[in-house]
């Protein structure tokens, strides 16, 4: 975890007056047809907190994030942001939030620069020169200056992810949601992302929910961690408590042993 107040001057002050927002997930359930993905998930994220959500592939982490931004509607239960129902379209107008999509979701017809500039332009947050400064700064933070004029189709997987993160940074959100921000990045860049998330919290009290399999990131910057398994939270607690040995399937999830003599896929066959 980077010490606060050093090297954190990199990120600019948000343009609007921002106050930290809290997120409350209450008994959230979601089914697609007869397939239950989330079965009553409850937790809350304090204003200015970094909450890391872990869990096996397919456990519903991305689906949960989409509920927070209102892209999916709950089958039961609800998500509120500062008391506002996340399913209401008006919530997006009142709370500035950004989601870094797992696949990036860059605008393929726009250059990298225009991808970043779209939000401030559409919401008329600054003059073109001011927008330019912000965009270039965000690109710089993610070592993307040279890619500003590239089209998304010309980028590598990790670059797309970094552009997606840069685009979210330019939005200067109160609530930042990351869907596996470091999954395609090299170790140094992953560390940079962790530093960015922590800095946003320290300096601007940005509330963050980070979906990640990255244990370094989780244990390094998280205030609290939730582990989603089988549609429910199998673990909810502080990051430091997670360093202690856990019971059965959580321990297996966090520290899987590679067992060549008795591989897992062989067990399935019996």
């Amino acid at each position: 975890m980077p010490p606060p107040d050093t090297e954190t001057a990199d990120l600019e002050k948000p343009m609007g007056g921002t106050s930290a927002v809290g997120v409350k997930v209450e008994n959230l359930s979601k089914s697609f047809g007869s397939f239950d993905v989330l079965k009553g998930v409850t937790f809350d994220v304090q204003p200015g907190e970094i909450f890391v959500l872990m869990g096996p592939s397919g456990s519903g982490k991305s689906v949960l994030l989409k509920h927070v931004v209102g892209l999916e509607l709950p089958s039961a239960g609800r998500v509120t942001i500062d008391g506002l129902d996340a399913a209401e379209p008006t919530t997006r107008e009142k709370v500035r939030m950004a989601l870094v999509f797992q696949a990036g979701a860059l605008f393929n017809s726009l250059s990298v620069y225009d991808n970043l500039a779209l939000y401030p332009r559409e919401h008329r947050l600054a003059k073109e020169s001011g927008i330019r400064d912000k965009v270039m700064r965000a690109l710089q933070i993610l070592s993307l200056e040279h890619a500003a004029q590239k089209q998304p189709s010309e980028l590598s997987g990790g670059m797309r992810k970094r552009v997606a993160i840069a685009r979210a940074l330019v939005m200067e959100p109160q609530l930042m949601l990351y869907d596996e921000p470091t999954s395609e990045l090299d170790p140094v860049m992953s560390a940079t992302i962790s530093e960015i998330i922590a800095t946003l919290k320290e300096q601007y009290r940005v509330t963050s929910i980070v979906v990640s399999h990255d244990r370094e990131l989780a244990l390094g910057i998280a205030n609290r961690v939730g582990i989603l398994m089988g549609g429910k939270l199998a673990y909810l607690g502080s990051a430091s408590a997670l360093r202690q040995p856990q019971d059965g399937r959580i321990e297996e999830f966090l520290h899987p042993k590679i067992d060549l003599k008795n591989p897992r896929f062989k067990k399935l066959e019996n």
Binding site: V69, L71, R92, R96, L99, A103, A105, E122
Partner: protein, 250 residues
């Protein structure tokens, strides 16, 4: 039964999209750049094929009319016939069909791919309504470009008819008398009538193609399916609307 439900659903979501886009109309001035871009895509790129096709349609009209009218001694009215058919019916319908193929399909493909690749979701989370940024400029552009395209189609068609009428031996009507009868028998309201039709067709095509694109769900295969559906629905709507608009304007 299921089919009927889907049609009703489609109508409902299309009307909703229209209302949403219309509610953002005041933002149009500051989307000027996008409007110009869409005018270019809709108008300029459709123009060559509109010109070529309307030339031949005008020519064929003159040829067929001249052939069947020579026995009645009515071939001097050929200018009026070509003029009226182009202006009131064939011009707008042909432009609408070409618009579907050239522009409607492209809109459906682009918006469907934006939906499938989560770009639309990204816009929504950025609080940039797709109806405002993606639909409104296209609707405004098509309203601006349809009259232009239709007038050009009419003019080229009329000239095609004139050329063929004077060049074909069994018709042999010189352009001066061709245009004289056209002017005699036609009124400005005939042209206006066609322009109204064209506006209705163009607007509905773009709206429907936007809606089908934005409602795409699933993977890349659905993008192709969305384009097919957009084109088929547009073509059906052109012919159905043609009847009703013609009737209403009579």
């Amino acid at each position: 039964m299921n089919q009927l439900l889907r049609i009703l659903e489609g109508i409902g979501s299309t009307v909703q999209l229209l209302l949403r886009a219309a509610s953002y109309a005041p933002t149009l001035p500051r989307q000027f750049g996008r409007l110009i871009e869409q005018c270019y895509l809709i108008g300029y790129t459709t123009l060559p094929i509109v010109a070529i096709l309307s030339f031949f349609i005008g020519s064929v009209l003159a040829l067929q009319a001249g052939y069947s009218m020579q026995n009645f001694g009515a071939k001097q009215f050929i200018g009026a016939l070509v003029g009226l058919s182009m202006a009131r019916e064939l011009g707008p319908v042909m432009v609408a069909i070409l618009l579907t193929g050239r522009v409607g399909s492209a809109i459906a493909a682009e918006l469907a791919s934006m939906k499938v690749y989560q770009e639309v979701d990204a816009l929504v989370t950025m609080n940039i309504p797709p109806a405002r940024m993606l639909v409104l400029p296209r609707l405004a552009a098509v309203l601006l470009m349809m009259p232009v395209l239709t007038i050009i189609a009419n003019l080229v068609g009329w000239f095609g008819g004139a050329i063929i009428s004077s060049a074909t031996s069994f018709i042999a009507i010189d352009p001066a008398s061709y245009f004289a009868t056209m002017r005699q028998q036609m009124e400005f309201s005939d042209v206006l009538n066609g322009l109204v039709k064209a506006e209705v067709f163009g607007f509905v095509i773009v709206l429907v193609c936007c809606n089908i694109g934005l409602n795409t769900r699933g993977g890349p295969r659905e993008i192709g399916a969305a384009v097919t559906r957009a084109v088929v629905v547009s073509l059906i709507l052109i012919l159905v609307l043609d009847y009703f608009v013609t009737k209403a304007l009579l």
